[in-house]
């Protein structure tokens, strides 16, 4: 049986190392950022990225050259994440989607300027609030929102990352953002930024 841990000649090892350094290492930012948003803990994020790169290095010969390296690294990380941190799959809490909708309807006619509207609904929310709302999203939704809205990846690449059809990416994004905006509206209300009635 073929061992993955054969000790190749030193020259080959060094070539592998250089190739890995060139191909894989530049993508550490996107992986770290994702890990941080998923675990909400810098230490855990570091461990996760470290584990991912060690595995990737050991399995480097399994990477098909020319395919999407980021997606490959991401899938290794997703696996490690699931092995380490996955608790019960969290179902989205029942959220009242209507409240924000109603509020929106009442203020929609007061102003035609979208910036002003956004300010009225989510005004004054801090980065922390937004980050916390993202953390509260169920995993599948959180993943696509991070990849699309923070990282700015295309649907095609996201689909490759999460190994799903593009249609699934679309619907998860829509649903994820819908849960998010309800959450954010709640925070804004609690903080007293939203003042109506």
């Amino acid at each position: 049986m073929k061992s993955l841990f054969n000790d190749p000649a030193a020259a080959a090892t060094s070539a592998k190392h250089q190739e890995f350094e060139r191909e894989a290492v530049p993508h550490m930012d996107i992986l770290y950022n994702y890990a941080l948003r998923m675990t909400a803990d810098p230490d855990d994020a570091k461990d996760l990225v470290q584990e991912t790169y060690l595995k990737a290095y050991r399995f480097w010969d399994k990477y098909e050259k020319g395919t999407n390296i980021r997606a490959w690294l991401f899938r290794i990380m997703k696996n490690s994440y699931i092995n380490r941190y996955r608790k019960e799959t969290k179902e989205p809490e029942t959220v009242d989607y209507n409240e924000i909708q109603n509020f929106y309807n009442t203020i929609r006619f007061e102003s035609a300027d979208p910036n002003d509207l956004q300010e009225k609904i989510f005004g004054g929310l801090l980065e922390d609030d937004v980050a916390r709302a993202i953390e509260s999203l169920p995993e599948d939704f959180r993943t696509v929102v991070i990849l699309c809205d923070i990282e700015g990846l295309s649907y095609e690449e996201i689909a490759e990352f999460v190994d799903c059809p593009i249609g699934t990416v679309r619907s998860r994004l829509h649903r994820g953002r819908k849960i998010l905006r309800t959450k954010l509206f709640e925070y804004a209300k609690k903080r007293g930024y939203v003042t109506h009635d």
Partner: protein, 263 residues
């Protein structure tokens, strides 16, 4: 809806969508709300760069791996020779690259069916089984005790003992725990066997927060510094104290051999 916001509609879908959005008020509102949400996330959540220290530490790990792939090789091939109940070991899921190693039993290791409780001895036997099954793998793989110690210290914020053993070479180590106290696990390999060391701090164990040790054993430890348990003639456990650290070693060897290695 999301596709329209992200500019990801298929060319054919676009005219249809804009027509609909003009006519349907509720979809128009939905569209505007979703767009606001996206903007809010996009403008408020910054991409965080991976800290330089993390990159350095990963580079160092890769260096170890490159310079010393042998410990890993030794470790995994030892597992393969090692007797276990499971025929296959799924090496912690590397996605499509999931590797299955076939483990062919060579001699019989009796699986320790110890209660899954917080007794440090039970826990150590159970962990040892998991090590042999490949369920517990090192977070750091190197035969250099100083590197393992540095890694564990950075994880725990306190020092643990990384003993140098006779006849056994260090393979790697891992750490677990956080709020209530830390534990450390070390894996060594000899010519034919793996040796496993489990460590916890005496004060954590005394408080009973993470693990516990029966009062009799604790007394014996404090008096003589040692406690030895021979589970069966071919598997032994030894506990000893180094400063405030309880070290607990297990291997599939007899009592005398084990003591000769750790003392």
């Amino acid at each position: 809806m999301s596709a329209a916001i992200d500019g990801e509609l298929e060319p054919g879908e676009e005219p249809q969508f804009s027509l609909h959005i003009k006519e349907c008020r509720s979809c128009r509102h939905e569209y505007e709300l979703e767009r606001m949400t996206k903007n809010l996330i996009h403008n408020n959540v910054s991409r965080i760069k991976v800290p330089g220290a993390v990159v350095d530490s990963i580079r160092r790990q890769l260096e170890y791996d490159q310079k010393a792939p042998l410990p890993a090789e030794g470790f995994f091939s030892r597992l393969r020779q090692h007797p276990t109940r499971i025929g296959m070991l799924a090496l912690a899921g590397a996605g499509a690259a999931l590797l299955l190693l076939v483990i062919t039993p060579s001699k019989s290791h009796r699986v320790h069916t110890q209660p899954r409780d917080s007794d440090i001895i039970h826990q150590a036997y159970n962990n040892f089984d998991d090590v042999l099954d490949g369920k517990i793998v090192p977070q750091i793989s190197t035969d250099d005790p100083a590197s393992v110690k540095a890694f564990l210290t950075s994880k725990c914020g306190c020092t643990f003992h990384v003993p140098q053993l006779k006849e056994f070479k260090l393979v790697g180590g891992l750490h677990s725990g956080r709020e209530k106290g830390h534990t450390v696990q070390l894996i060594y390999e000899g010519n034919h066997d793996l040796l496993y060391v489990y460590e916890a701090k005496l004060h954590d164990v005394a408080k009973g927060d993470i693990l516990h040790l029966s009062p009799g054993i604790l007394a014996e430890l404090k008096e003589t510094g040692w406690y030895v348990d021979s589970h069966d003639p071919n598997c032994s456990l030894a506990i000893w104290l180094v400063d405030s650290t309880i070290c607990c070693a297990i291997a599939d060897i007899n009592k005398e051999q084990l003591l000769a290695s750790v003392k």
